[in-house]
Symmetry: C2
Subunit: 189 residues, 2 copies
């Protein structure tokens, strides 16, 4: 006997949706989701209004832990430059994991091709939080054009993650020099 | 009576595959492809071994025109910097078109999640041609680290196109300063 409580059908569905939509794409079928979660279709539709809502909830569920892992702690007293580079270090670590397919909050938006889809909204929110972090740090670091620099950092983050995700660049020696060049150009030392 | 020959079923299938896979994603169904092309399933499978092969052929078919449009003419005698910026100007123009969803040679690889898929192979080849163009230009421009700079330019190209494709950045005032900062950092003036 184990002392751990078994996961609820809801938890199992959220996990299956997170894993399968990432590995196979947002087109993953209801049948595959139910079968991986060990839950009937009927139960799925009792717990979630639609597959779209399940997908959105699965992204939402992972977002807090993802952001806590990606961003430096508030108590971290590094310079803005160090705090920004911390994020890119984390991204590089993630991109080196065996099943990496790109940042899921980017790929889900690319795949859905619909900004009003509930999962696109969740993903966009996560990215906006990252963008707000960059914006605050580069302002604190005295960037001559904080808005431009924050957009550049998002561009590098998404470009690097996408290229690593499709396996065309392993990012070795790429991200840190790129970010540093852009920080330098904007006077964030 | 029109003097133009009607398009063949093969051409109509290639066009339908290019359009629908871009607008809706690579999961677009055989039925939708046949119905848009006005071709029977039987004919599709007489012309192509599989939907995968149709998708690959549709990407291949557009690639020559795309590269001719994207890259400066060989006869163009601009500096390496000008020739590189030409590519990014084109990318910005394309990203401003109403139905833009990102560079199709990137998005198809992200969606397929399978580097051995025939369409992934075609897409990767198109990107490799762009990468080779950047590499040759930055070498000619005297970059201190041509390999790094070529990878940075690909990263910017794909990052900008992905972010414009999902509608989170309109690229105004972003791409040219970013490319310029990276060229400057590598001494390509």
């Amino acid at each position: 006997m184990t002392s751990e409580a078994k996961e609820s059908p809801r938890e199992r569905l959220l996990e299956a949706a997170a894993a399968l939509s990432y590995q196979e794409g947002v087109g993953v079928g209801i049948q595959a989701l139910c079968s991986t979660a060990g839950v009937s279709k009927r139960s799925l539709y009792q717990l979630f209004d639609s597959k779209d809502e399940l997908l959105a909830a699965s992204l939402e569920r992972g977002a807090v832990a993802y952001k806590a892992w990606l961003l430096p702690a508030e108590s971290d007293d590094g310079s803005p430059r160090e705090r920004i580079l911390h994020v890119f270090d984390r991204m590089e670590i993630e991109s080196g994991t065996p099943d990496f397919q790109g940042c899921r909050y980017l790929t889900v938006q690319i795949e859905l091709k619909n900004p009003t889809h509930p999962a696109s909204r969740v993903a966009r929110g996560v990215k906006q939080d990252l963008s707000a972090f960059f914006r605050a740090e580069v302002e604190r670091g005295g960037a001559s054009n904080p808005e431009l620099l924050a957009r550049q950092l998002m561009l590098v983050f998404d470009g690097a993650s996408a290229r690593a995700g499709i396996g065309v660049d392993d990012l070795t020696g790429l991200v840190s020099p790129t970010v540093s060049a852009l920080l330098d150009a904007e006077g964030v030392h």
